[in-house]
């Protein structure tokens, strides 16, 4: 099926772009792996204009109602496999839900959590390895678990786990805990359930059907340790979800899409980008929404001449 515009992603940037597009009567399709994007992970949002205090989940519901009002055509749980520029100035997007064609594309696929990359990490994903402490911490009542990554998110995961797990091992690749929340760091250091391994990095996840152990190594003297755990929570930051764009548009060294900051144009005519996936300075929800609107207006200008 041919669309004027396909928007990839349905976070603030993608949905805002879609609403601007349909109000301009552009035939638009939104493809996304998850409606709302990263907002789902925000327990409370306090800096979105007009909504002084709202949970990420409730904000997503508001977005959904807004999308419904404009009858946006959205395909959810859709994984993008490939974008191919065609000779007739169209783009073909291959996904696990089929292929779609468009005259223009706005990419707003945002960021996703960085996956653990050691032997066993893929095999035991969902089988003891979790990327969502908020979701899965209650499943590890009285169990021993490890948290990999000791930044703000890792510290927060440990804190949530102290309510359930028997013992929490925190792997920190730096000599001491870092991050903004000093109070939290003091709380974790004095909690008897928590054991912090500074300067250690994971090297392997072991198990049979489910996770049984984590092997890790000192990044100075090289000592290797193995601890028995049932769960491993991974909090090692996020990366732009731009894998499928590698050969299509210019990315910077972080994997962000390089855009013209005024127009949201990428290095390839007809493909625009907005929000956290781009090389803009600030990754904020309200900025992403504005960027999405900008991209849609530029795409509208582009489509007028097609």
């Amino acid at each position: 099926m041919l669309y004027d515009l396909i928007i990839i992603g349905a976070g603030p940037a993608g949905l805002s772009a879609a609403i601007y597009a349909v109000r301009k009567k552009i035939k638009t399709l939104v493809l996304t792996d998850s409606f709302g994007g990263q907002i789902v992970d925000a327990p409370m949002v306090e800096n979105y204009l007009g909504l002084p205090e709202i949970s990420g989940l409730d904000l997503i519901e508001k977005f959904r109602a807004h999308a419904k009002k404009f009858a946006l055509e959205i395909k959810e749980n859709c994984e993008i496999q490939k974008i191919s520029p065609m000779s007739n100035d169209l783009f073909e997007i291959e996904t696990d839900l089929g292929s779609f064609s468009a005259k223009a594309i706005i990419v707003t696929s945002g960021k996703k959590y960085r996956e653990l990359d050691v032997p066993g990490a893929k095999e035991f994903d969902g089988k003891g390895i979790s990327y969502c402490a908020t979701c899965d911490a209650p499943l590890f009542k009285n169990k021993n678990v490890a948290v990999i990554g000791a930044g703000d998110a890792g510290q927060d995961a440990v804190w949530q786990l102290t309510q359930y797990a028997a013992k929490i091992y925190l792997l920190n690749k730096y000599p001491d805990l870092r991050g903004a929340n000093i109070q939290m760091q003091e709380k974790l250091k004095s909690n008897e359930k928590v054991e912090i391994y500074n300067n250690y990095e994971p090297i392997e996840v072991k198990g049979d059907k489910f996770v049984k152990a984590l092997v890790f190594k000192h990044n100075g003297h090289g000592e290797i340790k193995e601890i028995a755990v049932n769960g491993i929570f991974v909090e090692i930051g996020s990366v732009p979800a731009s894998k499928f764009l590698a050969d299509i548009v210019k990315l910077n060294e972080k994997g962000e899409v390089v855009i013209d900051q005024k127009t949201n144009e990428t290095s390839r005519p007809g493909i625009f980008a907005a929000g956290d996936i781009t090389d803009i300075a600030h990754k904020q929800m309200i900025i992403a929404a504005g960027e999405g609107a900008k991209a849609a207006l530029t795409a509208w200008e582009y489509l007028k001449n097609k």
Partner: protein, 77 residues
Amino acid sequence: MIKVYSTPTCTYCVTLKKFLTEKGIKFEAVDVSQNEADLQEMVDKSGQMGVPVIDIDGQVIVGFNRNKIVELLNIKD
């Protein structure tokens, strides 16, 4: 029979249950953080440890996969 396995803290679980309720679908909600046997049942059924899990007459879906659920339940979205 429809059974939803979830934890109280998981946002996708809340979304899934809200979605089913809105669509008028009756289901049994199981909080796997409360009972070891329920948790084990979910792990046995789905072969994994993440929530939510929904069991629709023996068809097990991991995560809030809106498309699949809509298709299996034959509901209008």
